[in-house]
Amino acid sequence: MNKATISFEEALFEYCLRLGDTSLIMGQRLSEWCGHAPYLEEDIAISNFALDYIGQARIILSYAGKVEDKGRNEDSLAYLRDALQFRNLLMAEQPNGDFGTTVMKQYLIGVYNFHLYSLLQKSKDSEIAAFAAKSLKEVAYHVRHSGDWVSRLGDGTDESKKRIQDAIEDLWYFVDDMFQIDDVETMLLSNGVAADLNEVKKLWTATVTDKFKTVSLTIPEVNNAMRLDSRKGNHTEHLGYILAEMQVLPRSYPDAKW
């Protein structure tokens, strides 16, 4: 994106999509577990997370629609955009994998959101600040719950330990993508709207490192991190399949009400 051509409103719209799309895709992915979790309480927990994420996406995408001012609402943004227009983190769209992978993804993105929203509570954009303050409290529950599972699986059997460590290795390719700073971030940071991703990275790394130490999980060396850039709409192959499932009804029956 060219610095000279992007207006403040365009940058704000992009920023809202980043926040909203990560929540939307996390919610959609987690809802795949509904009815399949290891036991009832966990099924309820995962469905609760999915509900939180969809609720958060709805708020911020609805605001994105207002900022853009082209008559799109949260539904048209969720259902009528294609993969190239989505701005969710690459990690969010990765498949659920086994329960360990789901837990680890939930934890890594949960801690990310926790620190991001803590900072965004002070955003000069009152809508973003309100969204962050509200979502933060929900995210705190996500972090505690998934963090409990990281400890349990990390301290559990050889099998559970291997699986949760494997999940870390798989997901670590997408960590770089979480902290990329581009023109949109820079412009909004200077306006006091965005949070500083360098600061988020520092806090995130500290929380995750501390947690991993307590259950002797290790952070892998990744020299070949995924070079795709979710901020430009370059996604892994998984996103298209998620969208196909999520969007089929509103695309097939454009005026459907349910």
């Binding site: 939180d52 609720g55 309100a130 303050a133 509200k134 979502s135 409290k137 705190a140 963090g147």
Partner: protein, 166 residues
């Protein structure tokens, strides 16, 4: 009765609107009803959701609509706001008392203390709403609705719900 109705009377009517998921409490007790003002001939009723994805908001709007229309009041609009973010700190003492009476443990710590504890994984003790014992344990952090958790009391051996700090 339009024309003679004032803000106080509308508030009084809205005091009859119960939370659809915890019908022991009114939306005013819970702090979901934020404000009622009269502007340019219209009552503006402001509500705020407890959780972002709270599915009860639609029903709450319908209930407000119904209560007012039954009294012949049609000059109103319902506005949903996100800021300031709803918190259990706003729940009235009366609300907490009613909640406990209904068998749900009310939120017991401030939102700020709660948030600090969350990131470190600490858990606070919850008092059993039936026998007041503190020897209880969390059985599931998520329950029948987004705003509740499940606990078990080791003293009276009853399962109970807690309204989560938020």
């Amino acid at each position: 009765m339009t024309g003679e109705v004032n803000v106080e009377q509308v508030k009084e009517l809205l005091n009859g609107v119960l939370d659809p998921e915890i019908p022991a409490l009114t939306i005013a007790d819970l702090g979901i009803l934020r404000d009622v003002v009269f502007k340019d001939g219209i009552f503006e009723i402001t509500i705020t959701p407890t959780f972002t994805g709270c599915p009860a908001m639609g029903v709450i709007e319908q209930d407000i609509d119904e209560v007012l229309r039954l009294e012949g009041i049609t000059n109103f609009k319902i506005k949903t706001v996100m800021a300031p973010a709803w918190t259990t700190d706003w729940m009235s003492d009366e609300g907490k008392r009613k909640l406990k009476e209904y068998g749900i443990a009310p939120p017991s710590v401030s939102t700020e203390d709660h948030l600090k504890a969350m990131i470190t994984g600490k858990k606070h003790a919850v008092q059993c709403p039936f026998c007041n014992s503190m020897s209880t344990r969390l059985t599931s952090p998520f329950g029948s609705t987004a705003c509740k958790a499940l606990h078990y009391c080791d003293s009276c051996q009853q399962p109970f719900e807690e309204f989560k700090c938020h």
